[in-house]
């Protein structure tokens, strides 16, 4: 260990741009054994492991780094999976630069440990050697329904099954995985990884009900009667609009519609809502990870040009930095410091966006810079297709009311410290409670809610 002076930080190898533009396969290659060992060996095993505290799941990062470095892959696998429901997935999709790797003690001047890449390696390597996650054989009496099969739901199910509880999962879509299935493009996360996890849960005894929307296909009351506890992890699926003139035009789309359509196509599904961007000029409004997913998908769909419009400067982008780099490599053009004023239309067809330039104010006490609109700086960006990637809000479906689950002003479910809703049998976590956030925080919520449920059921 402590070999950070000997080895430099190395990120996982990326596939060649020209190659990767041709398909939706993952861009990053998984670390091999020796690279994973070498990169893990850089870890200082700090007395204050900031990576561990910087991880929403509190993963035992230094522990499995050490076991990887000292060639105890089975132990690394066990340690990594103890706290995390699907480390190989989060290793791929977490914004590590703002979480564990951002907090890594070596991140100041030496280059953080490539934690995400090692994390993916640890589990993938174990799976390849035939290892599987463990679940309890001692079945317990408690029955828990999980609504939603996204990261929060899968996480809750995983930790409940580990202790032997009976779990049934309800998903309104045709496939499980939620945002991870339809929101995140395949070049970031291979869909088979989700199916693999779901299959293990089913093997462990979970019943999965697809195409089953609560309140429609199954009543909330039935659910409440049949189960001892219910966990709601339905995410934040309502997309936001910018609220500007012209956004109702037929060629102005929501990010999730674009991404879902493409994913369904890639999965070979029937796909009536597919948005074809081939040979078109695409403008994506927004600067988060979803915007990156849209621009990079558009490039792969053969758009003639793809531009990303963002209100702040590059340094203030909320999404993962490496995604911006990848997008640029793939030919996406970025327009920073612009704010959409109005969408120009020709009948029902949008033709472009009128933009105002912006600048950043001096940092305030909290260090945050505000956006200042430069009055009179209007100019036009032409477009054939405009994608709104402005974030998501909770949907607050009707069954919540039937279950007497209270929501707040913006539709988020209200919970106690122990993830209990106003109905003490019902728990909630993830985006439907906290608003659109990360898969890892949803996974943490799911896990901690599961522990709270088990406390009550035990």
């Amino acid at each position: 260990m402590l070999n950070f002076t000997k080895f430099e930080r190395i990120s996982p190898e990326k596939r060649d741009v020209l190659q990767r533009l041709k398909d939706y396969d993952e861009v990053y290659k998984v670390f091999g054994n020796s690279r994973a060992k070498e990169q893990s060996d850089r870890c200082m095993q700090c007395g204050d492991p900031y990576c561990h505290t910087g991880c929403p799941l509190g993963n035992f990062i230094p522990a499995w780094l050490k076991q990887t470095a000292t060639k105890n892959p089975d132990l690394a696998f066990a340690l990594s999976n103890e706290t995390s429901p699907f480390p190989e997935i989060l290793g791929r999709i977490c914004p590590q630069d703002s979480l564990c790797e951002g907090a890594c003690s070596l991140n100041t001047g030496h280059g953080a440990i490539a934690i995400g890449a090692v994390e993916t390696h640890v589990s993938e390597d174990a799976f390849a050697r035939g290892l599987k996650p463990k679940f309890s054989n001692n079945k317990k009496d408690g029955k828990i329904a999980i609504i939603g099969s996204g990261p929060a739901g899968i996480s809750a199910a995983t930790f409940l099954l580990r202790k032997g509880y009976q779990v049934e999962m309800f998903e309104r879509a045709d496939r499980a995985g939620g945002l991870m299935m339809y929101g995140i493009p395949g070049f970031k996360l291979d869909k088979s990884t989700i199916d693999r996890r779901m299959n293990w849960l089913i093997e462990a005894g979970m019943k999965l009900h697809l195409n089953c929307e609560i309140g429609k296909d199954k009543s909330a009351k039935d659910l409440e009667n049949e189960f001892d506890s219910i966990f709601i992890g339905i995410g934040a699926t309502a997309s936001r609009y910018a609220g500007i003139e012209g956004e109702n035009s037929s060629n102005v789309h929501l990010a999730m519609d674009l991404l879902t359509g493409i994913q369904k196509k890639n999965l070979g599904n029937k796909n009536s809502d597919f948005i074809d961007v081939k040979d078109k000029k695409v403008l994506v409004i927004g600067g988060g990870d979803t915007a990156m997913d849209c621009v990079r998908s558009s490039v792969r769909e053969g758009a003639s040009s793809v531009k990303c419009l963002y209100r702040r400067n590059e340094a203030n982008m909320p999404g993962s930095k490496k995604e911006v780099v990848n997008a640029k490599e793939e030919g996406v053009e970025f327009v920073f410091n612009v704010s959409p004023k109005v969408i120009k239309t020709d009948g029902n067809i949008a033709t472009g966006v009128e933009l105002l330039t912006t600048s950043m104010s001096e940092p305030d006490d909290s260090g945050r810079q505000k956006v200042v609109i430069n009055e009179g700086s209007e100019y036009l960006e032409e477009a054939d297709i405009i994608i709104m990637a402005l974030g998501f809000s909770p949907e607050a479906p009707a069954f919540l009311k039937e279950l007497n689950v209270e929501t707040n002003s913006w539709g988020g479910i209200e919970i106690s410290k122990t993830f209990q809703t106003s109905n003490n049998k019902v728990y909630a976590g993830g985006d439907c409670e906290r608003g659109a956030h990360l898969a890892v925080t949803a996974a943490a919520d799911g896990r901690d809610a599961a522990r709270a449920i088990m406390q009550i059921l035990a």
């Binding site: 950070f4 200082m44 204050d48 492991p49 900031y50 561990h52 509190g58 035992f60 089975d74 066990a78």
Partner: protein, 1478 residues
């Protein structure tokens, strides 16, 4: 128990001592005069009160002055028969004398005279006068016809009975009651003893021998009865193992059979030890008891203070057999000891195995034997001297008065070994477990457990425990090292699963006794363990040799099985002597009742079934069975067995999962376990390496390593208390037990120190229940163990005060402006809301005043003066960090601390100069210039992270800069010994303080101690040794590297030690003489204010300062890989240092302002007003807080709360050298005019040369004056520390001899010592000469004592013989020895060279060959070395006119073959410059 009030007035004592005897047993008054003169001239070794009269006590133990006593009796009309005895009695209440006389009558003794001893009270100080008892002599004669042997026995029995009867009369004491000796002693200065006791002035008062003693007690409440000598001994030193010895005396008392006394009389004699007496008095009681029962004088002496034999391969086999036989029932009374002893016929002196106390003898041609702590206490005619020598480690010398013969070590050994057939006895009856084993650690069947992981979880074997402790032990065979301090709560406050042994804090030696080095001085250490009964100690029988032995108390399956088979009836080896029975230590409900029931079962088995090996086994712990903590079980049963008086017949063997580090093992042994079979440690190791697919031999090595690590750790823990053998450590209870209820500590851990009485059996049971559920109910799924969080932070694990959140809060923002202090609000919030983690968190303010306006509170600049940085050496931290700390502290007006390891002279006199310079045991970089650059000189006795231990700076970290600062060569490993080799006792500390006050009279001398129960006693002693400031460091202090269990388990919270020290100083009226400082995890103004209220006047910050400079608490300092450039010497990493002086200043500003705000809110305007005001604190209103007893911490006794004196002036004003300084000052003013002075010197003139050297260094630094500028020619016997810290340009020529510490810390110049009697058989200097020397030359044409040239790093020296341990830890310089050397030569020697003349070819066996090798210099390629040696010898001859050098040089061609050159093995370039030799 609970209330430690008595600790404030308890004491430890050390001293000067000796004896005078006429070898022909001729009685004379002159003998008495000589004894008194010797005593007077060692007055500096005792303590003197301000009135110049009250000392800590002194006295004489004399042969009965036959003529004088008969004269007195006749005068009183009594005609004394041939056989009579005299009692010397101190009694306030005269009716006690009646009681005494009644006992005499009942024992057939006729009282013929009661005499009031005439005294002159003018000789007494006020304190002594106030407590003066009646001093009465009672003369008795046999009432019936009885043999003189019987008569003596009756005297002893009478005294013991009377003592038992009057046990509550604190003022009744019988100094002696004997037909052979009589004591004249008391609270008198040696100079006044004759003045006080009128008898002693009578010329007719003639004696043939005298033991004498001058006491230095750590407290100021001396008592008449504490004065030495006792009835048979006078002791200089301290018995470190006394707690164990006392316990063991009780065990031995269970079955005594005496030839002198009947069983009934023995009952009347018991207990052997007087309650409440000192360690020395207990030793005296035991020795006297043995003598009274007819045990041979020499056997009694050597069984109590044996020479090291277990690991002394060259010892004569028969002698070894004597010791091995004796050890079956007797364990060493271990610790620094020079003991003079007598039974009336023999008189002698012996010294401990480590040679830690000086004992010097002179034999004269007119048949006198003088033994004293120092040479030169009597002005003897040099021509009359036959022999001048000293006792070496473990040696004894005696005089047989009957035959007028001196018995030296060899004579005594010959007598001992041939007195019985010890070898034969041992051959017949002693069994060694090892002999029945093919090989150990190959059978792992016991270590494969089905429910291993559950058990690991239950025994708190977390991922971290494996990763941080067990795995490194298995891999490396030693305990792992960590860094930074312990920032976790005490176990009793913790909310997480902690080990039961976490309630125990290791005791360690500081000041009054030295720790020892278990690695470099291995020869004295032993873990040898035996099973079997303790026999009658009063007789020697062949069958007493029966013993089953093993080399370590840590067993493995193979040895355990053998042990078990010896005691198991079905086994062919069965021997009922070792009959065993196994008891499970698990329970289901009710811990207390289960403990009692278990103990009853054990007692019953011992009584009814004659079981002698008790096996306590926790292996059946499981879902239903919970665990009685093994320490609890062992401690409880041990005490019950003693109560039942059957402890002597049993051995307690524990089979436990609770031991997987050395600390855990030490706790069990200290409370009575004979041996430990730590199966979970082995099981964990096997499981850990199972997946590696190792061969069984590789696995064997790993398992062996774990045992080896625990063994080494045990040695380390024992050596911390200065204890060498496990037998003397067993039953010692040498722990502070923190936070357990009085009930538990009384039941299980009686004898140990305790504080914060709190958790009850029920509380402990609840904790056990919780961990039981965690292990057996709450299973993890993927990774079955808990993660841990004890050593390093982990979510959900133990609380860490420097956890990520706190550290981040301290790093919060890049505030560069001093005014910008709002920055630390989140830190303040975190610290103040951490909720009952540390003792201070349990207190809230309770002011008696209304708040005042902030503007009327003293300024922050006033407060800054009270701030210091904690000692951190340049070496442990980078030069950048070191300088930033210094600059910040100097800017605000606080003080920075150089730490151990020198400081770049370029920084002296600048803003980067550290005001505090540290003097630590390695003496690295301690030069005259360094000492003069300081305003405060801090003697580091102990360090919070690893009190009682030394340190090591690995060669690869010794960069050029570090090497220069520490006066060594880059790449050389630097070792700091555990003790200061010039401080083995309190009078030694007084001497070092005196040295430092000479070299730098302007500096304050501070002594850094570590919090431990009993530190108050030490603090009082330190104040009496004339320190100006005392630091009480918390056990949580940081470090660059320390063994993990030391970091975690040694040293208490500062709150405890501070309060105790403050109150003890007050109780002894010493608080006004010294300033008190504390450190340990202080972070905010609240911490500072609470520290002030508990008695601290100033405050030091270590880790906090580093954190502000960018430290992220990575805890990797020891790896040299600090990624932020704070604690590393790596050039590349140092580039990452981003700390700023401003940032540090902003932090201290925050603290000072925080303090001001709190003061204002409390209504006080200065810190001074609240120092010691513990009444301004109260315990918070909280249920958890109510569990604990904080009275010892919140105690406030009457008296002055702060230091009132500018300086704590020594009794000795050193006028002698002050006068000389005036004479030579012209040369210091004008370096080009050399001066020569001729004068006489005596042993009263101590630290000679330091004052002048200091004056030189004041102006010229280490450069000094031109060579040979000041030449001082002296005649006589010089006092201690002759030539200490000598500066370049000073030459000291002494015609005579010198005492201990010659050339200590010398940096330049020359010391030439020419005794009249030259050569290896005469002494020219004492112990520990050249300690920490950095340059200059020392030539002595005679031999020197123990530990010559320890830590020498630059001096060139020639002597003609040395004692044991020469050249230890040497890193530079050259030492030539033209005669015999002692054993353990060059232990830890990593640099420098030595030439040893060895015509007898015995030298190589005396080397400690771990690091050094000896090579011949008579080959072609050693020409340079030969030439060098020759030139050096020529120079030596020229300076000393040594006959030996002359002879060798005459025959140099042939003699060269008799020289060895000794060098560190890995040294390739020899530091020889032939030009230096002439």
């Amino acid at each position: 128990m609970g209330c430690n009030l008595d600790l404030l007035t308890s004491f430890k004592d050390n001293c000067g001592f000796g004896l005078v005897a006429d070898m022909q047993n001729r009685q004379s008054h002159k003998n008495l005069e000589d004894a008194i003169t010797s005593l007077e001239r060692m007055m500096h070794r005792g303590a003197v009160a301000a009135d110049g009269k009250t000392g800590d006590g002194s006295g004489l133990l004399l042969s009965i002055p036959e003529y004088f006593m008969r004269k007195i009796a006749t005068k009183e009309g009594v005609d004394l028969p041939e056989t009579y005895g005299i009692a010397m009695i101190f009694a306030k209440d005269l009716s006690d004398i009646d009681t005494f006389e009644e006992f005499c009558e009942s024992n057939d003794l006729k009282v013929v005279l009661r005499r009031t001893v005439p005294v002159d009270t003018d000789a007494l100080g006020a304190q002594a006068l106030a407590s003066l008892p009646n001093i009465i002599q009672v003369f008795v004669v046999p009432n019936t016809l009885m043999s003189s042997k019987r008569f003596d026995a009756m005297l002893y029995l009478t005294r013991k009975e009377c003592e038992h009867k009057l046990i509550d009369k604190k003022d009744f004491y019988i100094p002696t009651f004997s037909s052979k000796v009589i004591a004249y002693k008391g609270l008198i200065m040696p100079t006044h003893i004759k003045h006080f006791y009128v008898d002693l002035r009578d010329e007719d008062f003639k004696i043939s021998f005298s033991l004498f003693h001058q006491r230095f007690s750590t407290n100021t409440l001396p008592q008449w009865k504490l004065a030495q000598p006792f009835r048979a001994i006078a002791h200089n030193g301290e018995i470190n193992s006394v707690e164990a010895n006392r316990f063991n005396v009780e065990i031995k008392s269970e079955q005594l059979k005496s030839e002198i006394f009947s069983d009934e009389e023995i009952e009347r004699l018991l207990p052997i030890l007087q309650v409440g007496s000192s360690d020395s008095a207990s030793l005296d009681n035991m020795f006297e008891f043995m003598l009274a029962n007819g045990v041979d004088f020499f056997k009694a002496a050597r069984s109590l203070v044996p020479a090291p034999w277990q690991n002394a391969p060259h010892m004569d086999a028969d002698l070894r057999a004597f010791y091995e036989y004796t050890a079956t029932a007797m364990e060493a009374w271990d610790g620094p000891a020079a003991v003079s002893l007598t039974d009336g016929r023999h008189i002698g002196c012996l010294i401990d195995r480590n040679g830690l106390r000086p004992s010097k003898y002179v034999i004269t041609k007119d048949d006198k034997l003088y033994i004293t702590s120092e040479y030169g206490t009597l002005s003897l005619d040099e021509d009359n001297i036959l022999e001048r020598g000293r006792l070496q480690s473990g040696e004894m010398i005696a005089l047989d008065l009957k035959h007028g013969k001196v018995l030296k070590e060899d004579d005594i050994n010959d007598y001992l070994k041939s007195s019985q057939y010890y070898s034969k006895w041992l051959n017949e009856d002693m069994d060694y477990i090892q002999e029945y084993i093919e090989d150990s650690f190959l059978n792992t069947s016991d270590y494969i457990l089905d429910d291993l992981e559950k058990k690991q979880k239950y025994f708190n074997i977390t991922y971290e425990a494996i990763d941080q402790m067990i795995e490194p032990m298995a891999n490396d065979g030693k305990e792992p090292v960590g860094s930074m301090g312990d920032d976790t709560p005490l176990a009793c406050f913790s909310q997480v699963n902690r080990n039961f042994t976490d309630y125990f804090k290791q005791k360690f030696a500081q000041v009054t006794n030295p720790p020892i080095d278990p690695y470099r001085e291995k020869v004295v250490m032993s873990l040898e363990t035996g099973f079997g009964q303790i026999h009658n100690i009063l007789s020697e029988q062949p069958e007493y040799a029966k013993r089953l032995k093993t080399t370590s108390p840590i067993l493995m399956k193979e040895k355990f099985d053998i042990l078990h088979s010896f005691g198991h009836p079905q086994s062919p080896r069965y021997d009922e002597y070792y009959k065993n029975k196994t008891f499970s230590t698990t329970f289901t409900t009710d811990l207390k009742a289960s403990l009692v029931a278990l103990s009853e079962k054990v007692v019953k088995a011992v009584k009814d079934e004659q079981v002698s090996v008790i096996i306590l086994d926790d292996r059946n712990v499981g879902e239903k069975a919970k665990l009685i903590p093994m320490a609890m079980a062992v401690g409880y049963i041990n005490h019950q067995l003693l109560k039942e008086e059957i402890r002597h017949s049993i051995s307690i063997v524990t089979v436990t999962g609770e031991v997987y580090d050395p600390h855990m093992a030490a706790v069990l042994i200290a409370f009575g376990a004979t041996a430990i079979y730590p199966y979970m440690m082995y099981a964990t190791t096997v499981a850990l390496f199972k997946r590696k697919d190792l061969s069984k031999y590789e696995l064997q090595r790993l398992l062996k390593n774990t045992q080896k690590s625990v063994n080494a750790g045990l040695l380390k823990i024992m050596s911390k208390m200065g204890i060498c053998t496990i037998a003397s450590y067993r039953n010692s209870g040498l722990f502070d037990v923190i936070g357990l209820s009085d009930e538990i500590t009384n039941d299980c851990f009686e004898g140990a120190y305790t504080d914060l009485a709190g958790l009850t059996y029920e509380d402990i049971e609840k904790k056990i229940e919780k961990s039981h559920i965690n292990a057996f109910i709450d299973e993890n799924c993927m990774f079955p163990l808990d993660l841990g969080g004890f050593y390093k932070y982990s979510n959900g694990g133990e609380y860490h005060d420097y956890g990520p959140a706190t550290t981040k809060a301290m790093h919060n923002k890049n505030a560069n402006k001093k005014e910008d202090i709002s920055d630390f609000d989140s830190l303040k919030e975190l610290v103040e809301t951490r909720d009952k983690k540390f003792i201070r968190d349990f207190f809230e303010f309770n002011s008696d005043k209304d708040a005042i306006d902030l503007s009327s509170v003293e300024s922050k600049d006033e407060i800054f003066k009270r701030f210091a940085s904690a000692a951190m050496s340049c070496g442990s931290i980078s030069p950048e960090a070191h300088e930033a700390v210094a600059q910040a502290m100097n800017t605000i007006g606080g003080s920075s601390n150089s730490g151990e390891g020198g400081e770049d002279a370029k920084r002296f006199g600048t803003l980067k100069n550290s005001k505090i310079k540290q003097i630590a045991s390695g003496r690295f970089g301690v030069t005259p210039g360094y000492l003069r650059s300081a305003e405060e000189l801090q003697i580091k006795i102990a360090q919070g992270a690893k009190p009682g231990e030394g340190g090591q700076l690995a060669g690869h970290k010794v960069t050029q800069l570090i090497a220069t600062l520490r006066h060594t060569v880059a790449g050389v490993t630097l070792i700091s010994p555990p003790p200061h080799h010039d401080i083995y006792s309190i009078e030694d500390l007084a001497q070092l303080i005196f040295d430092l006050k000479q070299i730098n009279p302007l500096a304050k001398i501070t002594v850094k101690l570590v919090s431990s129960i009993g530190v108050g006693t030490i603090a009082a002693g330190v104040a009496k040794a004339y320190a100006d400031k005392i630091i009480i460091s918390g056990g949580d202090g940081g470090t660059g590297a320390a063994p993990l269990t030391s970091l975690k388990h040694a040293g208490n919270a500062w709150e405890m030690g501070l309060s105790e020290a403050h109150n003890a100083l007050k109780a002894n009226h010493l608080r006004e003489f010294v300033h008190v400082q504390t450190d340990g995890g202080l972070k905010t103004g609240m911490d500072v204010v609470k520290a002030a209220m508990l008695g601290a006047e100033s405050y030091a910050f270590g880790t906090a300062a580093l954190t502000l400079l960018g430290c992220k608490i990575l805890r990797i300092c020891h790896t040299n890989k600090c990624s932020v450039g704070v604690a590393t010497q790596d050039e590349t990493l140092r580039d990452h240092f981003e700390g700023t002086v401003e940032r540090l200043i902003s932090y201290f500003t925050f603290i000072a302002e925080d303090v001001r705000n709190i003061l204002a809110s409390l209504g006080y305007s200065t810190i001074e007003e609240i120092v010691g005001r513990s009444d301004l604190l109260k315990v918070i209103d909280d249920d958890f807080a109510k569990k604990f007893d904080f009275q010892n911490i919140l105690r406030r006794i009457d008296g002055v709360d702060t230091c009132q004196k500018e300086s704590n002036e020594p009794f000795d004003d050193n006028k002698y050298e002050k006068d000389l300084l005036k004479k030579v000052h012209r040369t210091i003013e004008n370096p080009n005019s050399p001066v020569k002075v001729n004068t006489e010197i005596s042993n009263l003139n101590r630290s000679f040369g330091a004052l002048i050297s200091g004056e030189i260094a004041r102006y010229y630094g280490d450069k000094g004056l031109p060579e040979n500028s000041i030449n001082i020619n002296l005649k006589g016997i010089a006092g201690q520390s002759f030539g200490a810290f000598l500066s370049t340009g000073m030459n000291l020529n002494l015609a005579g001899a010198a005492n201990d510490y010659v050339g200590k810390g010398m940096n330049g110049g020359k010391i030439i010592i020419k005794p009249t009697h030259q050569g290896q058989n005469f002494a020219g200097g004492g112990n520990t000469c050249l300690y920490g020397a950095t340059g200059g030359k020392l030539y002595i044409r005679a031999s020197v004592g123990e530990r010559f040239a320890v830590r020498n790093s630059g001096c060139i020296s020639v002597v003609e013989g040395t004692g044991d341990n020469p050249c230890e830890y040497m890193t530079g310089g050259i030492v030539v020895i033209l005669g015999n050397t002692g054993i353990n030569f060059g232990a830890g020697m990593t640099g420098g060279l030595s030439f040893v003349y060895d015509p007898e070819k015995g030298f190589v066996d005396k080397m400690n060959q771990e690091l050094i090798e000896a090579v011949r210099i008579d080959t072609d390629d050693t020409e340079r070395e030969r030439l060098y040696l020759k030139r050096l010898l020529l120079d030596y001859l020229h300076e000393t006119e040594s006959n030996e050098a002359d002879r060798i040089l005459q025959n140099f061609r042939s003699e060269i073959r008799n020289f060895w050159m000794v060098k560190p093995k890995n040294m390739t370039v020899l530091p020889l410059d032939p030009d230096e030799g002439d």
